[in-house]
Symmetry: C2
Subunit: 351 residues, 2 copies
């Protein structure tokens, strides 16, 4: 005779099988939420796929899923990571993630890449980029949602953070891809922000990243190994000096510069200690919570803009009116602003 | 006794004085439009200030102004110009603009700089940056509209193009400031797009500009002077080879790489000849008009998104409801998407 625990296992297995189906029903969602909260990894992956779906029915179910999962989220340390090209960001995440699991942390690695062509391609890419970490039972790697506008991709990544937290991941690493695009979005969902650089990245390159330097909490000079150690240390000094010229951050934290070698796994403990110090201080000062609240408001704003424009452009009356007004515009009979005001008036009183 | 022409001059002078007032009336706008079309420079400057104004009354008058001016616009060659940091973009515009006025062209130089703190500061900045050109009677330099979001700044620059064209400027140079931000916007209002670079700008820097290289019609390797000539020529060759790897542009044009020295004003004629060839071909193939039509549609889309979000966030009911929903969000009682859908429903049925 089977015991209660065996019975539950069988039931869960059946539920997991059911929710693997291509479309999820309303009833499945409650099962899915429960399994995510219990830390079931297959359920977590399925839940993320659900929130990434553009299908209207899936979007309704996503809302229910998020509502069920939200009260269990929020209890992690969220670390945003960006890097100058060639600084070895992937290698760093591999070394850092592995270190964290050694500290009994459960680590989720998420990526924001608006140029990503397809989720599936990226999964393979990420598994190759982070071979050790992807085989680690305490780590969960999820590539960027499929291509789309940056806002949409980033919003889904933010909801993925909540799902991972509900599933018990206590450290979330959020990686940016590309230069100068996704940093603001990732910064707006992180508690702590790291910029990875290298010695001799070049003045001009540093200039490009200056905007990012201004909101980094930690600048790590990577590749401090072999003959490169001295140069890396000099670069660190220079950056540390430069950081003093930036205005103080709202958090009251002064950005720190350190060296590390992701290849030799040196400097990782020191970097993590910096993060723990930040976390302790910002929890103490109230900044940690205040920052998360600011982020919640910022994202509401972004969501509103996205949803508004979606509702507008998919509105049948607008779709019917648009071509005629475009004609008038092309004939220079009407200005952009005038055409826009006309259409918005129609949108607001239509069904 | 005064002649008719003297009478008109006096009337115009009086009209110009009147429209210099801080706020313009509905009647003034028709005068203003006429004076702009007649090529009155003080009127042009006033008209641009009017369209840049955020005041609701000014915005109504701007719509009337643009409607009166639009049929007289469109008849110029619009050249977008971007550059890698340190490539000497300002010096190039100075040399190129001066050359063009020597070819009996009337040149307007506009700038898109979303980070510009104040219009007034920039005017001084631009006059210093382009000393010769700003004293040239056939050139008109107008700095970026005051700070704001990129979309808003760029839309106003696009309307400024129309105003300058109506005022008789037949060549419009639109300059980007900053890296990787305003290029798409400027490209979307240009007939022809130039990327200025230098020898040894570095692989990584080139990588950053790769996205821009893909839509450049002409890549100019600047600073081909003194001991640097040979290096510039080599860089040109390399870029020319690289350009072959990009997919063919929609226009059917294959991007060209040339060297120039803005300092010594060499290579400017050659660059201009490339532009004239492009213009002739694209007028012949129909691409010129098709591209402008595509741009008009693209900008309508941008305008719609901006106006929509403005109407939404300034709506009194939304402003009243927002704080309560933010509270619910902070307590994790509701998701972003749910809150957004609720507010959008209210917006659409409210006055």
């Amino acid at each position: 005779m089977k015991g209660n625990s065996d019975k539950k296992k069988d039931d869960d297995q059946a539920a997991v099988e059911r929710i693997r189906k291509s479309r999820i029903t309303h009833v499945d969602v409650l099962d899915l939420a429960r399994l995510v909260i219990e830390g079931n990894r297959a359920a977590l992956s399925r839940a993320i796929t659900l929130i990434e779906s553009q299908h209207p029915e899936d979007q309704k179910n996503s809302a229910l899923l998020m509502r069920s999962v939200l009260p269990h989220s929020g209890k992690s340390f969220r670390v945003g990571i960006t890097g100058v090209p060639g600084a070895g960001k992937s290698t760093f995440i591999e070394a850092f993630g592995t270190y964290l699991t050694g500290q009994n942390r459960k680590v989720a690695v998420l990526t924001v890449d608006p140029s990503s062509e397809s989720g599936k391609g990226s999964i393979l890419g990420d598994k190759t980029r982070m071979e050790l970490l992807s085989a680690n039972p305490d780590a969960y790697i999820r590539p960027s949602p499929g291509s789309g506008n940056l806002g949409g991709v980033a919003r889904k990544t933010r909801e993925t953070i909540f799902l991972c937290e509900a599933a018990g991941f206590d450290t979330i690493l959020i990686e940016t891809i590309g230069v100068g695009q996704s940093e603001t979005a990732v910064h707006s969902m992180s508690d702590f922000f790291i910029l990875i650089t290298i010695a001799g990245a070049g003045d001009e390159l540093q200039g490009i990243k200056r905007g990012i330097m201004e909101f980094a909490d930690l600048v790590l000079v990577n590749k401090a190994d072999g003959e490169n150690i001295q140069r890396a240390k000099l670069a660190r000094q220079e950056i540390a000096r430069a950081l003093h010229f930036f205005r103080e951050q709202q958090s009251g934290w002064t950005a720190v510069a350190e060296v590390c070698s992701a290849l030799e796994s040196t400097g990782i403990t020191e970097a993590w200690n910096v993060m723990l110090t930040f976390q302790e201080r910002s929890l103490g000062s109230g900044w940690f919570t205040q920052n998360r609240n600011n982020q919640t408001k910022w994202w509401l704003n972004e969501t509103l803009k996205d949803e508004l424009s979606q509702a507008f452009f998919l509105n049948p009356k607008i779709q019917k009116m648009l071509p005629g007004l475009e004609e008038q515009l092309l004939k220079l009979e009407i200005s952009n602003t005038e055409a826009a005001k006309k259409l918005i008036g129609i949108f607001r009183i239509s069904e």
